[in-house]
Amino acid sequence: MKRIIISSLFILAGLGIQAQHKEKSSFNDSCHIVELNEVMVRGKQQNNNQHLIRFFRSNQAATLEDILSRLPEVSLVRRGSYGMEPAIRSMNGGQINVMVDGMRIYGACTDKMDPATIYIEPSNLENLQVQTAHSGFLNGSSIGGTLNMKMAGPQLLNDKKITGSFSSGYQSASKGFYESLLMNYSSGNWAFRVSGTYRKNNSYRSGGGETIPFSQYEKANYSISVKYRIDDFSYLKADLLGDDGWNLGYPALPMDVGYAGARIGSLSWHSDNVKKTWYRKEAKIYANRIAHYMDDTRRPNVPVHMDMPGLSKTGGFYLEGERALGLNSRLHLRADGSTSVLNASMTMYQPGELPMYMLTWPDNRKNQYGIGLSWVYQTDSLTQIRLNTRADLVTYRLITAEAKDQVSIFGYPDANRTDWLKNGSVQISRSLLSSFRVSGGISYTERVPTASELYGFYLFNNLDRFDYIGNPGLKNEKAWQGDFSLLYTVNKNRFQITAFHSRIANYITGIIEPSFSSMTIGAGGVKKWINIDQARLTGMEASAFLKPFKSIDLISTFRYTSGRDHTGRPLPNIAPLKWLTSMNFAIHKFSARMEYETASRQNRFNAAAGEDATRGYFLLHMRMGYRTTVFKTQFNIQSGVENILDKKYLEHLDWGNISRPGRNIYLQVTVGF
């Protein structure tokens, strides 16, 4: 592995050396990493998302989940106030990639309590990339897209001074505290960044005054990052990120989490030199370890006490490069590989009996190797063609005799798999009448089933109250997706509307296995993962950015998705129509923001998946910010009231019909130094 990485590094470096000192073409003149990446990966029409993210991040009290929930492509599956699971265009779990800085991280929880989004605090977030179907597979085969959280790195200010900020905040609904410290130091070619965040929230109060039990959580997140500048164009970076959570409540699940810990480390090399043919190069090796311990000791009336530990270990690498091909086209190349081991077990204790022990994730290893290629060709000043393609080789192996014995119960003597995944897309965009830009694309994508879907052993789903067993014989999901988008820009106003349609073949879903008896006390039966012929998703997203006056920004987003399976039944986990409007008023050091959020009633639900109809709601939020400098110290005060009307509400993707927080008054003070 190491040898491959090193030799690949040399190959990349070698390619870079044959630079031809070409003139920059019109579309890669931005040398800012983030922007370049955005333009490169997502296409111009997607830039709307960056506007949204920038806008919502300006509220520094916003959590990553707050920001994500405001993006029209993203919806969140909620099982507690912590660890909401992101979905892109209603696809989630194994259908999408959730990455931290291009690294794969697999949750160690069989109940999906730990999506990788929990490891990134907004203070560590440099950028958020949401890539939908066309380009969403470039970093890893997926049918739904990729959510990549780019972590902030140290800044080479070379001032030999410690700079940074300290934030402290309070939330009234959960009587929650937030403390965060961020420091940057640089000297010569070295720069260091450390950050630490601590959050402690009690069980929150929902609209109307009811306290939601088991919605508390406590966590600490800390990171250290070191950057070494090799020359003007390249640097090395080492990152270590730790995250510990204690007593994390999941009111919609029968168990909470006693402790969850993540250790994420990486070493990377970056090079940006627009004068070189390969003008951007990046190589990274990484490893992470996630440990997760579910806990039922705080719950009343537990029929049988159980321990459910889970462990996920991943190591991997990637190499990325971008180069120009002539004046009008450029190429983005990514090669990556990773190996991950998952295992989880359950031990139940019945007094007077020997402990009942089983593997809920029979020990398995997933290896993945892939190459992604993106080619952008500017045919003329108006038209751009983009071709994306990626192939992945994915293997799954059961790695212990114990695991094989267990899976053999279901009649799968050989549960190992090897899959080739093929993905490709074509996208064309064209400017019309100077203020319009239309783009359309079509993509074909594939994904492998997850470890839970292949090997899960009586994994209890509290939404439909069924035990799920894996099926190593599942076929890969294959999706065709087409989308069409229209962007209208006039002055500083932008309107965009996107419509999409996906057909997913071999859609993976659970069906009742009547001959099996459920294992979880209180479960309604056993479901087995199977492929159904087809599922379809149709939807649209729209957003508007208006700047009627210099001091006013108005942002409005709208989304609607509808999904159905081969029999015409609605798919589960489809959020209803949601419309969000935010008006920001900024003058000098003061800003005020009024936000309303509305969702329609969801009547298209899947009863077999344990869903029911969800009422619509209307919410009003009010935010204020004030920024000042006193004795050379910057102060940033953010305050506001969320859910002013103290509405008792929940979203359709919230499990267990548990109400969301009611009126919440927050205050956050950030001191910069």
């Binding site: 014995d405 459920s518 294992m519």
Partner: protein
């Protein structure tokens, strides 16, 4: 000669060169022989009773034979008990690998006596110096005394003798033998669990041995029943999928498959049929691991 360099010497005296080669080859072969013979000596024969526990021993006096009785468990529990017999000539101490052995267990309850099902060694030849037998103890040594008689016909010296030894049988916490009176024919049947001896999470071989009581002294193997079973965890209220009902294979032994989805306390509920008639449906055997 000492002044001449060896290679030149060889060219001068080819016969000497040949001689050297022959000597080297011979030395090589000799060394090899030593090596091989050493190896032979080094490899001690593995102890055939490794991993087994000695239950008892005694002399079958008429046969001039010492009998050592081993089992896979250190104490004898009710149910199907595997016994491994090692015979030696009591005078010479040599192993006896050929003998005809018959076992006769006897329960003396004072007012009455009864035997129990046995499986005598299938052949007069020992398997790896051991004679494999089994006794199905139908009750513990409570309210009576178990004795076990071995009738040995030593094929080496042609003598015959009997060894009778007392054995203590205890009831395990989870008895692996059940009996019932067939509702169909009024006969008493004994059902003993043979496998899984070492249960695991996953697929396990399930093996039962079924015997019919013909008289107090005769318990022949029975193949007339058909067996259905369902495993369950009584404290959890669930079973396991994809089990295979045991069917008769030979000598009253029925084999099938039982799946355990986790460790812990399992109960196998049985339904014994004779044709379409239920013989019994109340028996169960517990397994905890």
């Amino acid at each position: 000669m000492g002044q001449v360099r060896p290679e030149r010497l060889f060219t001068k005296f080819p016969s000497l060169y040949m001689k050297r080669i022959i000597i080297s080859i011979a030395a090589f072969l000799f060394a090899g022989l030593i090596f091989i013979s050493c190896r032979k000596d080094d490899v001690a024969e593995p102890d055939p009773t490794a991993g087994l526990a000695k239950i008892t021993e005694g002399f079958a006096s008429g046969a001039a034979t010492k009998v050592q009785v081993f089992s896979n468990r250190s104490s004898i529990l009710t149910g199907y008990t595997r016994l491994y017999l090692a015979l030696t000539d009591s005078a010479s101490g040599n192993r006896i690998d050929k003998a005809q052995i018959e076992l006769m267990p006897m329960m003396d309850m004072g007012t009455m006596k009864h035997s129990s099902p046995v499986e005598n060694p299938e052949s007069t030849a020992a398997v790896n110096h051991l004679f494999h037998a089994a006794v199905v103890f139908t009750m513990p040594s409570v309210g009576g005394t178990w004795t076990l008689s071995f009738k040995i016909k030593n094929s080496v010296n042609g003598k015959e003798g009997i060894l009778t030894i007392p054995v203590t049988v205890t009831e395990g916490t989870k008895p692996a033998i059940k009996s019932f009176v067939g509702a169909n024919d009024g006969n008493k049947y004994f059902v003993a669990l043979v496998e899984p001896a070492k249960p695991k999470v996953g697929i396990n071989d399930l093996e039962l041995a079924i015997y019919k009581r013909v008289s107090m002294m005769s318990y022949p193997a029975d193949s007339s029943l058909s067996v259905q079973f369902t495993p369950e965890m009584p404290s959890m209220g669930h079973g396991s999928p994809n089990n295979v009902n045991p069917v008769h294979v030979r000598k009253g032994h029925y084999t099938g498959k039982v799946n355990f989805t986790m460790t812990g306390f399992w109960r196998l509920n049985f339904n014994f049929m004779q044709g379409n008639v239920v013989a019994d449906s109340n028996q169960y055997i517990d397994i905890e691991f």
